[in-house]
Amino acid sequence: EADIYQTPRYLVIGTGKKITLECSQTMGHDKMYWYQQDPGMELHLIHYSYGVNSTEKGDLSSESTVSRIRTEHFPLTLESARPSHTSQYLCASREGWQPQHFGDGTRLSIL
């Protein structure tokens, strides 16, 4: 079972603030992913990484950025939060041909 930790679990913050959502995994997985999920809607891939110093944009355009300096850590940053960024953000990882395993997400609300 994959152990993926996301913090904070909930965040309510004002417009214009810089936000970093944390994601860490203890399994040593090379591949990590960030998804955005709105209520009743599909998960949409916004960023992924194949390993250290590798980052790629997903199919859904996002104003966020990511970094991968350490294998276990894949933070997502919003430089200036807006109400349109209100959503749930899910982090996932996988290894080899195994399916992705998810963390419990961060529910972000921008006022």
């Binding site: 009743g40 599909e42 419990d104």
Partner: protein, 112 residues
């Protein structure tokens, strides 16, 4: 047209019922098929995954893939109140395993 279609429900069944959850898709290149369960305020939890066509059984859960009809199903036998959750189907091509396409999920309630 979306690549993956899934009836959002909500679906409400009595405890002990057999539940059938379904997804249809349009991309014939999909080879990997997954089912995730998502409880409220939690992340998706992998239930089952299959490669190509056929059936796979794990306890009370059976996954079926019919590639000729572009149709996948998840059956839950002897449903329990603890099965109440949203069920997401997901699929990907063999050459684009990182690009997983998710359905919107079906909300299931199992009534005691």
């Amino acid at each position: 047209q979306k690549e993956v279609e899934q009836d959002p429900g909500p679906l409400s069944v009595p405890e002990g019922a057999i539940v059938s959850l379904n997804c249809t898709y349009s991309n014939s290149a999909f080879q990997y098929f997954m089912w995730y369960r998502q409880y409220s305020r939690k992340g998706p939890e992998l239930l089952m995954y299959t490669y190509s066509s056929g059936n796979k059984e794990d306890g009370r859960f059976t996954a079926q893939v019919d590639k000729s009809s572009k149709y996948i199903s998840l059956f839950i036998r002897d449903s329990q109140p603890s099965d109440s959750a949203t069920y997401l189907c997901a699929m990907s091509e063999a050459t684009s395993y990182d690009k997983v396409i998710f359905g919107p999920g079906t909300s299931l309630s199992v009534i005691p």
